[in-house]
Symmetry: C2
Subunit: 321 residues, 2 copies
């Protein structure tokens, strides 16, 4: 027997579905599963600045033999399992950041782009929806700061129909990165993607140098190796400091835990490792909160030394701000 219960009064469209029967013959009718994750943003203060981490989602893919280029796949699987992750696959998160400095609204890196949403069945390309959920209007963004030119950082500069996603923003890019990736003699792979994305912006960018303020309160530091012009960014306000590391490491359970491991995406692996060790030694010594583009959302934590390696201690979620 199928009974209409009070649940049907609340369930809306779901009320038209047939109500399955429990094994004991009773009609059962729990509220339908929501099937939808919470909006992917998280806020915290850095002095008087307000930071909103706005996730672009996460991709899961089979673990390639050479995902870590200098250790055996078995060792990678052992590290994944030690971190309570499944073996033989990899999940990588993408976490752009929005900083309201008090005088400017600044997006730092832009995710895989809305064009990736459908292709990935909603796994990535979430940033624009999450910006909206966070109450951030893309038209109000004053500046977009790019750490480096890989697609998961720049593709969100443009909409699915190749229009500027932040039409009123100055786009700031590392000068060394611009020089490398706009070499007219190169056209393969990421060179083509760089041409496509910045071409859609009419190549209207402002190049910035490391060790200078990019925007008041946001200082770029050179952290090369992952790409030639890769930059990280230090947010500073009052006594508070947070470091946005960008891609100094990929997943912390593998590469922060094992800083000597080389991810396939690092273009100069030895330089990337040297950058990594120097950066984390400073973060650990000064107890600076590190925001990692590829750390699991909300993607912030402290780095502690563990012998020759490191361990990430994620921040505690603050349910207020």
């Amino acid at each position: 027997m199928i009974e209409l219960t009070r649940r049907h009064l609340f369930a809306g469209a779901a009320a038209t579905a047939l109500v399955p029967l429990a094994t004991d013959g009773r009609a059962f009718a729990a509220a339908p599963a929501a099937g939808k994750q919470a909006p992917g943003f998280y806020r915290f203060k850095v002095g008087s600045m307000e930071v909103t981490v706005v996730t672009d989602g996460a991709r899961t893919f089979p673990l390639a033999d050479n995902f870590v280029t200098n250790v055996k796949k078995d060792d990678v699987n052992a590290a994944l399992q030690a971190a309570y992750m499944e073996k033989d696959k990899m999940t990588i998160a993408f976490n752009p950041v929005v900083v309201n400095t008090g005088s400017k609204l600044v997006v730092i890196d832009t995710g895989n782009g809305p064009g990736a949403f459908e292709q990935s069945k909603g796994a990535v390309g979430q940033m624009h929806a999450n910006l909206a959920a966070a109450g951030i209007d893309r038209n109000s963004v004053d500046a977009v700061v790019i750490s480096h030119f890989h697609g998961d950082h720049i593709n969100g500069l443009i909409t699915a129909d190749n229009k500027p996603a932040y039409p009123n923003a100055e786009v700031l890019v590392p000068a060394a990165e611009w020089k490398f990736w706009t070499d007219p003699s190169k056209s393969e792979g990421n060179f083509a993607n760089v041409k496509r994305v910045f071409g859609a912006l009419g190549n209207k960018v402002t190049q910035y140098e490391a060790d200078k303020e990019v925007v008041s309160g946001i200082t770029a530091i050179a952290t090369p190796g992952h790409t030639p012009g890769h930059c990280s960014h230090i947010l500073s306000s009052g006594n508070a400091t947070v470091a946005l590391q960008a891609d100094i490491t990929n997943h912390p359970a593998l590469f922060l835990r094992n800083p000597g491991w080389h991810v396939t995406f690092d273009m100069d692996a030895a330089m990337a490792e040297a950058t990594r060790r120097k950066f984390y030694d400073r973060m650990a010594a000064e107890k600076i909160t590190v925001q990692g583009f590829h750390f699991p959302f909300p993607a912030a934590g402290h780095v502690e030394k563990d012998g020759n390696n490191y361990r990430l201690v994620p921040i505690a979620w603050n349910p207020s701000i």
Copy 2:
């Protein structure tokens, strides 16, 4: 000079505020800081069940000398600082859970109650707002399962005007807990609060025994010590298992890291410690995900042994479900 910029077109009510001047005399006018945290809920699947962690918020208070009854305050401060928390104060989160078993919508523990929202200036008493943000109608809840009778677990059973907060739900309570706290010869402290809360429900509860299914898919286990009838709950569906530990430990950085430390809230500290070690030894050996009422939101992780102690490895946030 105060200029009206495009920002004012978007800023709504904020547009009437005076726009401060930057030190260089330019008008600046970033989008106003949001000042509001993301909705505090998080979803994951346990087999075919859908779990929604719905935070009630977090309280911060000065660290009392006897917060940990059997170690010196200096040791507690050292542990706080080792976990990148401030010394001399304590922040405790409250994380009730909603389980959609497929046939029942079940709330497990209820937070500090909406009455605490104003008194705490919004720090706690957030659960009802977060349930609404999660799209969960309190009228649709079929069952409320209580782990034990401390106020932060039962006060949310009633609204600010002392009406049942889940008017259509069966309220399930541990039989041993009911027996202890309804002793008619006692009237002080928490005994009075228990009388107040359950009185508002007309004392209409269903008592449950440990080691039995409370609701299909949710099994109670006796984990006494924190209170005499304290229960935890095992969610089980298909091959998946998650343990809702309730108050087997308070903050993991102190008491999971140092299982021999006794929090002032444990009524029988020796029994609580024995329960704790037995429970975590099992969780670590079987690699079961543990959901902790007082863990930082979203309050789930794996427990690993570290000599005679333990370490919590928080789960990675999944931006999809």
